[in-house]
């Protein structure tokens, strides 16, 4: 089946990753996928400041950002009623696809956690998933703020993820054993 075409031209992206070379790569992939407005930052602090001052349509951040980590960044954005990006979709990238990492990403309010390495196809699939994601937003004062964690949709979990050089099927639920990233595919948040 042909995938729907994404039109990212007028959308504003914010990429936050502590590795400057990975920033370049992610910027290049997004640009090749059609994005024209991509802001890049290397620290959680700066990403947070940008989220307060600029409207972003999608935030992609690494979980292990310096200063403010990715989970804390998302949590702060989600719980700040004055933040213009409170409801902005967020993808958290991680090198650790262990259960507790995925759970932390889910519980901080991210829409998706994506295990590195990423590939253009994988990123495209996840962007598509978010574009089609109908999940409502939950706001619990003092508690969880983010996309509804209770959802059923046969989306990314059924997508065959072909990691570069290492084909793996996407996992629909968090892994339970300690693992080193590439052996585990992208995690959907339930």
């Amino acid at each position: 089946m042909t995938k729907p075409a994404l039109n990212l031209q007028s959308l504003r992206f914010l990429v936050a990753d502590g590795n400057s070379y990975f920033q370049t790569i992610l910027y290049g992939i997004l640009h090749a996928l059609g994005a024209q407005h991509i802001a890049v930052t290397g620290t959680g602090d700066e990403a947070l400041a940008r989220s307060r001052s600029d409207v972003t349509d999608l935030l992609i951040c690494d979980w292990s950002l310096p200063e403010v980590d990715g989970f804390d960044l998302v949590r702060r954005i989600r719980t700040d009623s004055h933040n213009p990006n409170r409801y902005t979709p967020v993808i958290v990238l991680t090198s650790h696809a262990q259960a507790h990492t995925v759970e932390r990403a889910r519980d901080c309010g991210a829409n998706f956690v994506l295990a590195k390495p990423i590939s253009p196809k994988l990123l495209y699939d996840r962007l598509l998933w978010i574009a089609e994601d109908p999940r409502p937003f939950v706001m619990a004062p003092g508690g969880y703020n983010g996309p509804d964690r209770r959802f059923k949709k046969d989306g990314a979990s059924s997508v065959e993820v072909e990691r570069r050089g290492r084909p793996h099927a996407a996992a629909a639920s968090p892994v339970t054993a300690p693992s080193l990233g590439p052996a585990v595919a992208a995690m959907t948040l339930h």
Binding site: P4, S10, D57, S64, T88, I118, G143, G165, P178
Partner: protein, 191 residues
Amino acid sequence: MSDSQDKTEPVAADTAKAEVQIVKIKSRFAMLALRDGGKSAAALIGAADAFLQTERNRYHAWVSDALQALDVTLDQLPGSIPEALQAAYGQAMQIRDLGGTFGAPLVTEAADSLCELLYRLYSAELYSHEAIAMHQSTLRLICAADQNKTTPAGIAELLAGLRKIVARYPRPLPPPRPPGQSQARPAEASH
């Protein structure tokens, strides 16, 4: 205010938790990303793959720099072994992850082995310069060959050798897991 907030509407309220709000939100991303005018998925993914191909030489240079940075990190020894191993683990993960993005499975495998080694050394509070250096040499060899679009001779044996080196160090057993938690890797230990 974000455009996304313009599309909110309450959909449910749990009477037991009246303060919890659940709102339907169609984000600007969702509204605009599926507009007409986009190129086909195949064309876009193909363009992104082509971008990665053009980056390949710089990627090799980056791996070389990353391995040098790893040397610097480990040269901080002695006195800070856990910290150095933790930092080295983070650097090795970056090499492994970008190897996956660039479709370099041998780099990924050797770097994955290095990650596992560093994890085991960290967990056992050990250090082995030789074991780490062997991984670094193998990674340099693989990268040099990859630049010439070749595969190093005897790579299968080299990788098997790395696995044997790693196997010398015990894989730590995960501690009893309290609800909602599991053992953290070195890079996560500080969080």
